[in-house]
């Protein structure tokens, strides 16, 4: 998964678990950057009676670095408050919810947005902003899209915000990935495989929801530092350091400073690059200290596994001989270090750079001067579309395929022109898209063409049919 349940500790704390982060130039609103941070992953839409919500005891931050120091020059902080209208009822809603002020809606959340510019105490941009309810079903919420539209708020300072349930837009074949990286389209080539033919991929998140924090900001508010037009983006969740479970009071006490428990910049980093013994520490550390983890980018475990796992038909010869030789050479993967830790410097990819300087840090780097593509490729930069991942990340980018191919060596020629990627490296796919121009993600076609871009959440009533 991108970052769903990716580390032992955070997998037990879903409301603080950042699962995906997107940052892109808004295709329908020139000059505005959209950033979406997802939390509370893997929601079964029918999961009542206590449906999903943000944590009242968490600070959700969207951080912007615009001078390459891997520290936030700007932070947008989202804080939530849950209100129960009738504690005597067990119901989430006692009748149809037609509006965000409906008396039938028993348990609701609202949120505040605070903008913190480095060195300042922060400015509250909006308060008591309504979240939409979860999508219970057609009797409870007859017109969910309209109700959710009402929860899109424009702040007096120009930002647009939305916080609430969405269909998870990430697509991945979890069953295949975690079964010894058995990519179904090539499953007959896996050395452990009992299969004789390939098979289509399975979209594991097709019917699952997530909670999104979506923010749309004029680019001039963000790209104001020395790395302009490039910005670095990451999200982080913080909890107070001490929590005491109080059996007598019926509620818990929380005291102490806010400490980071989860973070996310590029997809799949803590999932795939960081080893098990360091995942929790990675979540608690700051991007500015990521040089401590650089060795895992330089020699990723997955790069070692691919040549071992995939062999030519009826042969003991690996499908990745050049990658195997590169691994054996012991050379650091300078391609991955550049793409993931510093950004791509000018001169490597014609017409593109998203370099933020020599400070190694996991951030989603967006060159805001690159306009949205008129004919996007879900493979982003490696598909010739400079507006896609790893130039930020759009909701439809196939980041699993991009990352698999990158780890397999398709970008290594950027740093060593004598290297020829294996043919198999450029063919790796999970089989969840029909082509690079397929932006529907095999049934995740409910992406929206405008803010907040991720689709209307799957309905509890129609699950698992939807």
């Amino acid at each position: 998964m991108s970052s769903h349940r990716e580390a032992p500790e955070i997998s037990k704390d879903p409301v603080a678990d950042s699962s995906d982060l997107y940052a892109f130039m808004s295709p329908d609103r020139p000059g505005y950057v959209t950033i979406i941070a997802n939390y509370v992953p893997m929601q079964s839409p029918d999961g009542g009676p206590n449906f999903f919500e943000f944590g009242d005891d968490i600070h959700y931050d969207i951080n912007i670095d615009n001078n390459g120091d891997a520290l936030p020059e700007i932070t947008y902080r989202f804080q939530f408050k849950t209100v129960v209208e009738n504690p005597a009822s067990f119901l989430y809603n006692g009748g149809p919810i037609h509006s965000l002020t409906s008396k039938n809606w028993n348990r609701r959340q609202h949120f505040s947005v605070t903008k913190v510019v480095a060195g300042s105490v922060g400015t509250v941009l909006g308060e008591r902003l309504a979240c939409p309810p979860c999508n219970i079903g057609p009797l409870s919420i007859p017109d969910y899209p309209s109700l959710a539209d009402d929860a899109v708020h424009t702040l007096p300072t120009g930002e647009t915000v939305f916080c609430g349930q969405r269909a998870d837009g990430f697509y991945v074949d979890l069953g295949a990935i975690f079964d010894l990286a058995n990519l179904r389209p090539f499953q007959e080539l896996n050395v452990f495989s009992p299969f004789h033919t390939g098979a289509p991929g399975v979209q594991s998140l097709k019917a699952l929801n997530v909670h999104s924090i979506a923010l749309q900001v004029p680019v001039g508010e963000l790209a104001t530092g020395s790395t302009a037009p490039v910005i670095g983006v990451w999200t982080a969740a913080h909890r107070q350091q001490v929590r005491m479970h109080d059996s007598g009071a019926g509620s818990d006490d929380r005291v102490g400073p806010w400490v980071q428990v989860s973070r996310l910049g590029d997809p799949l980093i803590n999932e795939v690059i960081i080893p098990m013994g360091h995942k929790d520490a990675w979540n608690r550390s700051q991007p500015v200290h990521d040089s401590n983890f650089a060795k895992y980018y330089a020699n990723p475990e997955l790069a070692d596994l691919l040549p071992i796992l995939y062999h030519a038909p009826s042969s003991k010869n690996t499908l990745f001989p050049n990658l195997e030789a590169l691994n054996a050479s012991g050379k650091a993967r300078a391609d991955l270090e550049a793409v993931l830790l510093t950004g791509i410097p000018a001169g490597l990819v014609t017409g593109f750079q998203n370099y933020t300087g020599s400070t190694q840090a996991d951030m989603l780097r967006l060159n805001t001067s690159i306009s949205p593509a008129s004919s996007p490729s879900n493979l982003g930069v490696i598909g010739g579309d400079l507006a896609g991942y790893p130039n930020g990340r759009r909701v439809f980018d196939d980041v699993v395929t991009i990352s698999l191919r990158a780890v397999a060596g398709v970008l290594y020629p950027l740093v060593d022109s004598s290297y020829t990627p294996d043919t198999a490296a450029g063919e790796l796919t999970e089989g969840l898209t029909s082509s690079a121009s397929d932006l529907t993600a095999m049934g995740t076609e409910n992406y929206l063409s405008s803010f907040p871009y991720l689709g209307v959440p799957h309905s509890g009533y129609y699950t698992p049919a939807s």
Partner: protein, 100 residues
């Protein structure tokens, strides 16, 4: 902590004590040593609720303390959104003794 004496702190606090990185909860029931309180709980699961007087800062915030290192007397005090580190070997020892 300037508004609270060490005696007040020990008598009123709901404390969390840590030694060698391991946290151990210490219920400090009003007028009752911790060990006695635990024994009372074991005698009857229907024991009446005991009134507790949790330590509060001057503005009413909960206070929690953790002994990080009994040998050096390093104590962390959590209040509001702050963590204050102080060094008091005697106090650290008293808390550790109460936890035995």
């Amino acid at each position: 902590m300037r508004n609270m004496s060490r005696r007040d702190f020990l008598q009123k606090s709901s404390l969390t004590v840590g030694a060698a990185g391991v946290l151990a909860g210490v219920p400090m029931l009003a007028g009752m040593p911790a060990a006695s309180a635990a024994a009372a709980d074991k005698r009857s699961k229907f024991a009446a609720p005991v009134e507790r007087s949790a330590a509060r800062s001057a503005n009413g915030e909960q206070i929690v303390a953790r002994v990080r290192d009994q040998a050096t007397g390093e104590i962390e005090i959590f209040v509001g959104t702050r963590r204050i580190t102080t060094t008091d070997r005697r106090l650290a020892s008293q808390i550790a003794d109460a936890a035995r």
